[in-house]
Amino acid sequence: MTMSKKHPKPEELVAIDYQPRRRDWMDPHVEFRKGTFNYSANPKSMEYLGLPFVRKWQPTEDDWKLPPNWKEIILNGLRERIDRFRSLRIFMDICVRCGACADKCHFYIGSGDPKNMPVLRAELLRSVYRKDFTTAGKILGKLAGGRELTIPVLKEWFYYFYQCTECRRCSVFCPYGIDTAEITIIGRELLNLVGIGIDWITTPAANCFRTGNHLGIQPHGFKDSVDFAADDLEDITGIKVNPSVNRKGAEVLFVVPSADYFGDPHYFGFLGYLALFHEIGLDYTFSAFASEGGNFGLFHSHEMMKRLNAKIYAEAKRLGVKYIIGGECGHMWRVLHQYMDTMNGPADFLEVPKSPVTGTVFENARSTKMIHIAEFTADLIKHRKLKLDPHRNDNHRITFHDSCNPARAMGLLEEPRYILKNVCNHFYEMPENTIREQTFCCGSGSGLGTDENLEMRLRGGFPRANAVRYVHENHGVNLLVCICAIDKATLPGLMDFWVPGVSVGGLHELVGNALVMKGEKERDNDFRGTPLPGKEEKVHV
């Protein structure tokens, strides 16, 4: 992710004013200032997905060209969702405004804007719920915390529901377990009913429909990228690997985020997957149809999430695999863990994942039939099935960023650490209230990773960066490892801004570097083409 030329300086952004302005919180006015919001959805992508009220508009314009009956649509939509999701009704009714969540949000910490306190962000929707759906609100209106749904309120929803990354850190601290991400999800879903969405979500979703992945890479391009990676790996290791695409009868379908075979530094982890699976002789295939682990549908609506997610099981069935392994993707795992089984399952045609190398049966995936590659690799290491040379990663002093969704949505806390401790010698944890289930978001998740939104991303990413800075200064950490493609896309820019001198890498990049492959040539460089420790004097590509 590149920095825009006009972005602010760290000393400007860090001067955060936590004193709320003297004004009624019910006043919905927001200012759409460049750097703090995202562009509207491209009409072409909306049309492709069959979305309603396709039109051109931008948040900075006064007239959002809403349909005349927009209010009726939103209120009916809210009514339907209150009936459909018991959780939503509970979250609307149960909050006592205790404030435990208030200072837990990275956007609040980074901006000082009280409406980024999760309690108040939720209140933006809750006030409308109270006005139109509760007896007290219907009678007492404002006195009961009710608020009329107006166009300024709608614009305020747009502003703040796209200043939440659905990371769920606040939910960890809520004594009632209110999942504020679900409130944001509903808020965005309602806005999409009247054709208000952002392009960074709608276009990837449309691409995913059109070509199989968010980036819009077509099947022949996907094949070309996989083949290129195999050749590249051969140049580095001397080993020829033969990954397959759309191969029927393979034991495993392997699904990765598309950025893994497109972006940097994602790609180095992709090489790690290829090396690892070759070394253990895994019988696996990629799919060009399900060539995306991520699911930007989650950031749009339940329906869109279901439509995009359906491809994974459909392809597992068509190819006749036994089970599915997923790569280093973040929100994919929330969809997988929380929704896939009931939305598109049960996947009765698959078997409970069982490692062909160790015989371990992954009981935790008995229902979904899909396991995380970190679980799979940790099990291989535990059973001493891999020959690893951690010294090859000695140029790195490493810390681990728990990506929000694998950590908080599926509890994947130990496996990445176990792997790291086996593939590198210098691993340092960030402060305990910033890792594991309390991890701080990258600030760019849930479709907010755009250039136009850069200032808010840098603000939202500040708490994470601040914790990295701590280990950078105290332990000389120079590599931030993560297991999410959005992290890999956005943390490099965040580090350059707040903690220069820290690079970003993936877990399986380090696995691949450390993996001693049978018959490999003498390795001079790591996957990035940087000389391995002790090989610096040699000429490298």
Binding site: T2, N42, N207, H214, L215, I217, F228, F262, E452, A485
Partner: protein
């Protein structure tokens, strides 16, 4: 839709200045778009990158992997950043008339 106009060049662009209709691309357009990226002059090396991107785009309908771009043109990622300060995706692709990549990139 914003319109980008410079000299004889008049094209539809998105909010970030990427071409809406990549088929309208030609060398004059490339020069005009380069000026918006802080690149005043397209050297032989710039053209090597741009032409490779065009070639790949015509075959695959999208930009190549960053690593592939580096390997095929022989430039390191740093050298590409030196040529196109916004980087391969936001800078070089824009000059080559490709669409902005979206998703986890």
């Amino acid at each position: 839709m914003p319109i980008f106009e410079q000299g004889e060049v008049k094209i539809n662009v998105d909010e970030d200045g990427f071409m809406e209709e990549p088929d309208q691309w030609n060398e004059k357009v490339a020069l005009a778009l380069a000026s918006t990226e802080g690149v005043d002059n397209l050297t032989e090396n710039h053209w090597k990158v741009v032409n490779y991107l065009r070639e790949y785009y015509q075959k695959y309908g999208i930009a190549p992997m960053i690593r592939k771009l580096c390997k095929e043109t022989g430039f390191s990622l740093k050298e590409i950043y030196d040529m196109f300060p916004s980087g391969p995706a936001k800078g070089a692709c824009k000059v080559a008339g490709l669409a902005k990549p979206t998703g986890c990139v």
